[in-house]
Symmetry: none
Subunit: 208 residues, 4 copies
DNA sequence: TCGTAACCGAGACGGTACGTCTGGTCTTTTT
DNA sequence: AAAAAGACCAGACGTACCGTCTCGGTTACGA
């Protein structure tokens, strides 16, 4: 959001309506689900929300950041932090949840389109990193750290690289569409990551 | 290209000028490098190439497929098929070449933007799979198959998944920008893939 | 019209459609008659004419000049060049025709609104002088010159001032609305002008 | 002004600030002189006067009536009631004063633009007639009536028509710009009006 | 002296139209 | 028949103001 509310600032003039904000996000989310980001038009959103275009531009500078906020209404809470007792089980659970969201909900389309849009819009890219990638990775990091503290994988394993090995292939198939996001795919990716980790391939000290 | 020239067809009228085609692709490649895909406009390309818009629409149906052709002028030959004698060495060479192209040449920007555009344009997505993903993966497949025939990794390893594990993380960092495509990153990704493969994690028969 | 057609120019590309031009002028004239110049919107005109906005902007730079062309479709031919045999009779006929147009036709409203608009738009003001004031005055000048050649009024009478004395009061009442454009008013204005002219008040040599 | 202050009304609440009113009129007059009526915006005036838009709308219903009040700060007192002893001399003095105001002061622009605006805004038109045309004509009427009582022109002369003959041509040239408001023009118009009047052309009883 | 009603500045609100830009198509003349 | 040129319809863009409204706060009266 682009709200310029500085904490210690005196508030003057009519305050921005939260109701208007909600109406805009709802309309944006609906259009996003129905017709996708490219077909989503500020004019449409305004009309659907029963709102003037200015009320949108006042809050969001690009349609990408608006779409991001609409996307985030539901996305984050759809990504669980499992605790099955084993790294293997946790990673399968995490990846399955992501794949389900990407393939079976209206957020999937928004997900790919937002990543796409972020390639053109640096503001959106920064917001995406901060508001989606950051929180998600923080959550996944805990999964790996629990495995380390359980002794499942070596201390000093490069968690960042392992997270990229987990989600990179999934995004890869989602964005390129060259192969399916099957459950077998999920299981094999996890198996590879866990095997590599247990072998200590992600521990820098060993020769690298 | 979307050229509708059917091989056994009798050609009538003025034949299409190859010079026009080259001028269009050159103009498109230049604009792509200078200002990116989003700012690239059919009108711009036509003006820059000194060509009518019709001459472009006659050959390409969308700006995505035009950009793809401009991109492919140089891309494929920048991706080598190394033969260092070890899987580890080959994979590092392959990934380094890709990262160099993505980060240090004007093709890098086009690469991300084409992937982005393919999320909206099914024609481009299909062309991308067929003309970029297909050839590239065919080449990488040989690397893994050589390793199998050398006995480095088990027979029956799931090469498709291994390729996704190799390039997925790289695309992931390129597209999200949350972490750098450093050489250390490359080495660790390769180490993990090789370790996982040697451990037989990509061989389906084992329990999975 | 703002058509940039230079006579000796080579014409390239698709020529402008006369049909489009007619449709635009017709739509503009209709809206002008129904709702006036201020309520006339380029968007409305385009929609009513079934034409893109660009096709209007390509031809006219401001809505004033467009309205002027729409107005001129009919105006000039509504202003007669009478020949009753006396200056008095001719002037009454001229003024009556103008008053009828101003008060009883849809052009009346356009007339006042165009004069109004010309106060803000220098292009329109210039066009108005050249395309309305010029031709009209040329016609009226003939009336006075015939009176001079008949010997009704002195040679050397200042025709320009006399024309202003004839039409000035009429525009005055039309624009300010402080008194009616009655037939009695017309007759008295003409009587005053003719009396003054016969008295030689418009001949500069006499003392002035 | 559109102040709804009914005399016998009980006044409750905070009274309107005269200082606010002055600030608004000053800002309006300045903008009017600098950029004209069309460019004058309620938002601009409010910003310049350091005042909320509501404080303007509370006092004036349209920008035309606001501009009229700003115009009237100075206009009326710039129009003198001369007494040279002859009709000819008085009329020349009156007309010269008007022409000077129209051509050499910042009120000139406002004058034409207000007449223009009044063509669209009936409230402004009514106010213009009542607050500008009325007082001005009342003053000029005295000039003619003095000439009648001196015996310069016949009793029963149609003063209204004569005033239109005097100012009509002047407004005509000002608004259409087809000819200059020169001093020679002023003298000839006055000469014609006086000659016509003396010849009794404005006396209805004679045949008309 | 205290309430209350109308004022005040600020700025958000739903709208409308602006003039520009681009998309993809169509219509000319020229090659 | 293909080419360059450029007109065509369509419609979104982001901006500017409109006239209204809602805030927090001020001012002066009259109960």
């Amino acid at each position: 959001m682009t709200s310029p509310t500085i904490p210690g600032e005196i508030k003057r003039g009519r305050p921005r309506s939260e109701q208007v904000e909600r109406a805009i996000l709802r309309a944006a989310a609906d259009i996003l689900a129905e017709r996708g980001l490219e077909a989503m038009t500020i004019e449409d959103v305004a009309a659907r929300a029963g709102v003037g275009k200015t009320s949108i531009y006042r809050r969001w500078s690009t349609k990408g950041t608006l779409a991001l906020d609409a996307f985030l209404l539901d996305f984050l809470q759809s990504q669980p932090l499992p605790d099955t007792g084993s790294l293997d089980g946790d990673l399968v659970a995490v990846l399955r949840a992501w794949v389900r969201t990407a393939r079976e909900t209206s957020m999937g389309r928004a997900l790919t389109e937002l990543v796409a849009q972020a390639q053109y819009d640096p503001d959106l890219a920064a917001a995406w990193r901060q508001r989606v990638v950051g929180p998600t990775r923080a959550q996944h990091r805990r999964v790996f750290e629990r495995a380390i503290s359980r002794g499942e994988i070596p201390t000093g394993s490069d968690v960042d690289v392992m997270m990229d090995l987990l989600f990179g292939p999934a995004y890869h198939r989602l964005l390129h569409g060259h192969a399916p996001l099957s459950d077998r795919f999920i299981r094999r990716v996890v198996a590879m990551v866990v095997a590599g980790a247990k072998a200590g391939a992600a521990v820098p000290t060993t020769s690298r």
